[in-house]
């Protein structure tokens, strides 16, 4: 029997090794991964003991730590919480952190490697470590204008500086108050969180970067860009624009929103088709170009790629393998085409930036606890989306949309504004989504904007009626400075 006991003890020895290896995996190999998980409150609890660095808009702190005199020494305070919530996120005892509070955590808590020198000094001097500051790219005036414009609606606004990719505004409605999620009272936090979770309007969703909607007619600028890139079409090319377009291999017909022909005799130029948002002409164009040409164009603007700004943005999608009728619908931003507000702002920005798509970013500078600049983000290019000459041509076409077409509400006196309206059905019976994308001044844009309003419940004019005035206000806010 002794031999069997020895053998069994050998088996238990193996089980012991399994426990040791598993513990090593958790506590050493994967430990950092687990510590950084969003739901992990431990690190947060430890960090309530020390001063966390602020998140700045220009030089104003929109999130900062204030002393409380309680067991938890510091509390997070957000000035204008709902306004900046899509940027800052929250920093909660119960639910972990989101937004920049999460992605820039190691800067804000002073644990990032760039603080090593400070940390050694702190160790020697015995001072508590203090976190660094994060300066955002946000422009307070643009952010406020967008927030004001969205009031009472459901949607999102993103504004980008075309030449750099700096995100000037990222706004959502409805929003939430991060102060109430970052308090020291777990019961209150839970109650408020449950309320937000239960809200059918989903205020916790970071709409500007993660909410995907069909871009509708705003996507026609992508199709137009693909048409110019093909070399077969110019702004003056004549396209068929009948009342209804017979979808290939299908019994269905696609109609124009007003049920009329796009031009005399059902003929229309590409420029005019964009100006009046002619569905039949663009559906025809989509099939002429083919799905892969449109997808190549869309991808160069940033579709089918997930950007980290550093918040992780949802991937905007162009359908993988559409058949002919689906291609026609995709060319007008319907079917399975989905885009975030960030993505459509990037499309506008790239057109205004001589066809260069820039990587969007939200963090301008990282500063030390003494506010000295430790690191500045340099703009980087993502792709060459268009030839400069094509981009000029498309810009003129978009200026025409605002001056003579469907985007009249975005006109700013004395400034050439390029824009495009859009309305999309999110499903057969679901309410429509209104879009407006634009940039200004058209020749050398300082700002590109995308506005999306969900459940607008209005017809095509809503892009102009609901979304364009907000885009106009945001552009004005930036240009006024």
């Amino acid at each position: 029997m002794s031999r069997q006991i020895r053998r069994l003890s050998f088996v238990f020895g193996l089980l012991l090794i399994a426990l040791l290896v598993n513990a090593t995996l958790i506590q050493v190999i994967n430990a950092r991964d687990y510590r950084d998980r969003p739901g992990n409150q431990r690190i947060l609890l430890a960090e309530y003991d020390r001063e966390r660095g602020p998140i700045l808009v220009a030089s104003d702190p929109v999130a900062r730590s204030v002393e409380t005199g309680n067991t938890l020494t510091y509390m997070r305070e957000y000035n204008n919480g709902p306004l900046y919530a899509p940027v800052t996120g929250f920093y909660s005892l119960v639910y972990g952190a989101t937004g920049l509070e999460r992605t820039e955590n190691r800067i804000l808590n002073g644990k990032a490697d760039i603080f090593t020198v400070d940390r050694i000094q702190q160790l020697v001097s015995g001072r508590q470590p203090v976190g660094g500051a994060v300066t955002t790219t946000i422009d307070a005036a643009a952010q406020r204008a967008a927030f004001k414009g969205l009031k009472g609606k459901r949607g999102a606004v993103v504004a980008i500086e075309p030449a750099t990719g700096r995100i000037l505004a990222s706004v959502q409605m409805p929003s939430f108050d991060p102060n109430r999620l970052s308090s020291h009272n777990p019961a209150d936090i839970r109650e408020y969180y449950a309320e937000l979770e239960a809200d059918p309007q989903k205020p916790l969703l970071n709409r500007p970067v993660v909410s995907l909607n069909p871009p509708g007619s705003t996507f026609k600028v992508v199709t137009a860009a693909a048409a110019l890139a093909s070399g077969r079409f110019t702004a003056d090319s004549i396209l068929p624009g009948p009342k209804a377009y017979q979808l290939p291999n299908s019994t269905k017909k696609l109609r124009n929103w007003n049920g009329r022909e796009c031009g005399p005799g059902g003929k229309v130029t590409l420029e005019q088709a964009l100006a009046i948002s002619c569905n039949t002409a663009f559906a025809w164009l989509g099939n002429e170009l083919g799905a892969s040409a449109i997808r190549t164009q869309a991808d160069a603007f940033g579709f089918d790629h997930s950007f980290e700004i550093p918040l992780r943005a949802a991937t905007s999608l162009f359908p993988a393998d559409p058949d002919a009728p689906q291609t026609a619908l995709s060319a007008i931003g319907q079917f399975d085409v989905r885009a975030t507000a960030l993505q459509m702002a990037m499309v506008a920005a790239a057109i205004g930036n001589s066809g260069r798509t820039m990587n969007p970013y939200l963090v301008q500078e990282i500063r030390g606890p003494d506010l000295s600049i430790l690191q500045t983000t340099e703009p980087t290019q993502y792709a060459d989306a268009m030839k400069p000459s094509d981009s000029l041509s498309l810009t003129d076409m978009m200026v025409n949309v605002v001056q003579n077409g469907t985007g009249s509400n975005a006109q700013i006196s004395g400034i050439r504004v390029a824009g495009k309206t859009g309305t999309a059905q999110t499903g057969n019976d679901s309410p429509s989504v209104a879009w407006f994308i634009s940039f200004a001044p058209a020749a050398a844009p300082k700002v590109a904007v995308a506005v999306v309003i969900e459940e607008s419940g209005a017809p095509e004019v809503s892009g102009n009626g609901l979304a364009a005035p907000i885009a106009k206000a945001v552009m004005e806010a930036v240009l006024r400075q």
Binding site: M1, S2, R3, Q4, I5, R6, L8, S9, F12, G13, L15, L16, A18, L19, L20, N22, A23, T24, I26, Q27, V28, N30, A31, R32, D33, Y34, R35, R37, G39, N40, Q41, R42, I43, L45, A46, T71, H184, P186, A187
Partner: protein, 471 residues
Amino acid sequence: MPSTHPATRVPGEFAVIKKRRNTELALLIFAWLLGVLGTLQVGWATGEGTPPRLWITAGAVAAVALVMHTVVRIRAPYADPIMLPVGTLLTILGLIMIYRLDVADARRAQLNKSPIPTPDVYSQLTWFAIAGILFCAVFILLRDHRRLQRYTFTFGLIGLILMVLPLAPIIGTTVNGATLWVRFGGFQFQPAEIAKILITIFFAGYLVKTRDSLALVRTKVLGVGLPRPKDLGPIVVAWFISLGVLIFQRDLGTSLLFFGLFVSMLYIATQRRSWLIIGFVLFVGGAYFAYSNFAHVEARVTVWLDPWTYSDTTGYQIVQSLYGLANGGILGAGLGQGFPNLVPFASTDFIVSALGEELGITGVFAILMLYALLIERGFRVAITCRDGFGQLLAAGLSITLALQVFVIIGGVTGLIPLTGLTTPFLSYGGSSLIANWVIVALLLRISDRSRRPDTSQISPDDAMTQVVSRV
């Protein structure tokens, strides 16, 4: 493997075996000192200051340990000198962590402005004293472990009754979904903890008598000798009882422990690997049956495979446990400086996560090594024991400890699905602490007999083959 087989030692051969009782005492003092330091560290690190009753509690622990040591010194002078200090150190580590969690609970209550809960550490200390008394009782009432063999079936019957007791009306109680508690008045008890000892005694007594017939081989299939169908009876009964525990008491841990113990002991007794294979096949079949028919088993497996998806619901405990362990890292947050109270049931099922957070992987390895040492000493007792019953009993008790440690620590670290078992010596809870101290007492009792210079008249060969049982 050493060539000298202890069981075949020549009778009358004179081996110098040191008693090493002073070693035991020195190790106990070391364990006690660690306890005092640990408690002080908790007090200072949490800002409570020196715990007001430190010297009373430290004195009580010292008194219990000293009494146990003295009884061993007098009644079992040749007993293994390592097991008592290891058990004591583990109990002390448990006490420190329970005190530390008391502090955290009081803190939280203060913050929420709710009444401060009764500290657990004093009741655990009381349980340790009671465990100490029962530990001593084993040595005083039982001079020779072989006497237990006389009551093989009595123990088996009582063990079985204890196991089903929680299902009885009025006294049976369901806590956290598992029906394994019995309540008399204000007093709660987990009878399965005591039952596992009685059943181990029963298995040892039963198997030592029937192992010859169970070892008979009928046919060979793929080179493995299979037993006669009629000998399959006992293992099938054990299998059904395990499934019964699982289904009616919803206690996955005890069910696993019970079946694993029986199969291992069957293997030792019959020396036939076929029983391991049959046991494994039955285990897989039972596990699959349980998985596909019982929602609570399926839920455990689902969470085990992907705890992160369920981190807010059914996976909350395990995810919090992983967070705690990860927070501990290599050296730990330091006693009193982590957040072990964020893990539900930190003082019972998840006490290893709590210790792992504050003592790091260094502490987890140390604790696992303490268990390994204890279990290895147990197996050593089994191997050196001169009678078949004692061998099987010592092996069985060690396996009970080993399976428990593996199942619970493997569970809270996500290596295997989580099952509700207590962590021997560390977990808060009287039944478990008492039962594990009785296991140590029995192992020491057997070890005293086997390490004592051989002056008995019975030759070891007789002891190996004679049937002592009278039922």
